[in-house]
Point group: C2
Amino acid sequence: MNKPNLYTCLSPALIHLYDLTDTIVVIIDVFRATSTIATALFNGAEKVIPVAAVDECKRIGSLVDGYITAGERDGKVIEGLMYGNSPAEYPREFIEGKTLVLTTTNGTKLLHMAIANGCDHVITGSFPNLGAVCDHLVKQNKKVVLGCSAWKDRFNLEDTLFAGAVVSRIKEHFTIHCDASLMAENMYDLHKNDIHDFIQKTTHWHRLAAYGLEKDLHYCVTEDVANVLPLYKNGELIAG
Amino acid sequence: MNKPNLYTCLSPALIHLYDLTDTIVVIIDVFRATSTIATALFNGAEKVIPVAAVDECKRIGSLVDGYITAGERDGKVIEGLMYGNSPAEYPREFIEGKTLVLTTTNGTKLLHMAIANGCDHVITGSFPNLGAVCDHLVKQNKKVVLGCSAWKDRFNLEDTLFAGAVVSRIKEHFTIHCDASLMAENMYDLHKNDIHDFIQKTTHWHRLAAYGLEKDLHYCVTEDVANVLPLYKNGELIAG
């Protein structure tokens, strides 16, 4: 039996190159949206509503009493929203049973592009839920595109390392004719044992560490500490 | 004194993300356009005229008696053109003093985008002229974008490896805040000693080896065997 294909797309600006029909798209935004999404759902959030614009976040947040609005710019909570983008802000005792309306830019853009291009379904992935993502992909036995959210469409290392971690774990179940996947796996293999040091060389580290977010970033590259499957349905991410 | 910035752009579809003002753009199309260009100029070609379309190749080729038209599709010389894309077709005894009108797709597209976006000047690079490219970039002391031609806009390994080779050789002369450059350097360091084996895992190898072009591809990743600087001026590449 033919194994399904797996591809890695390194930027939202390249997603149009992939036929997404009958494809599972994994949205990857390691620093920090998809790490925060996994953490909130793992800790019992009822759902996470990802939105691109701050105004939409406020609007949806105002629809239902108890919705939590969240988003940051330049390391600070956006004016008019309640919380930030840090996974550390969403422990079980706070987030359980609640709905998080989260503004993200890079990740949400890619998610909406995947939906618009007619993919089968979307899940989100980051190191904290690596195992859950891999289990789902193997079980589904469908074509996969690992979609790196990048940074303003530019290649980034942290999303690539996560794609590489997925390839490394599940490659025997897929047909992989894709230089980006091969590169990602090489980069993950090269750095899996020094990942906490290596991420300090990335451009995103420098951007976010300036806001004192080092602890967050180390958490975001820690594997399997929030093993839940965020599944996108009707505009919402729920634990699958 | 501040060192100039160096960036690596992994696909023509991402070139708009870079400000090319006062920037040297290095067009990289390892398999095989920029390897063939270096080889033809190293072997004494008067100039190489890179064109995107087959019709344009024929038109320019017909303007001057003695112009050599060249281009391949699917491993064969295009009907109506005289030669193929192989560097092995352009030894000194054949090409010296002649003009080569070469159709390429990925590389020429990127070259024209760089010019349209107002860069300072364009050179072309591949492993055979790695040293000449590095010497020029260090001497010029200007901002650099290493532009991978990719394959139909998709990331490819061979162009990335060349970008990594450049970064590896000249990084101390530049400011590099660019995840793509860091990745490229890592990939080059990882594979510089097994590059002839490693390239056999790339998608482009599989595409071209099917046409019996293995020897060409090994040549294209051999460093410093055609050390000339192809400099783009008024629509033509000349030895700089």
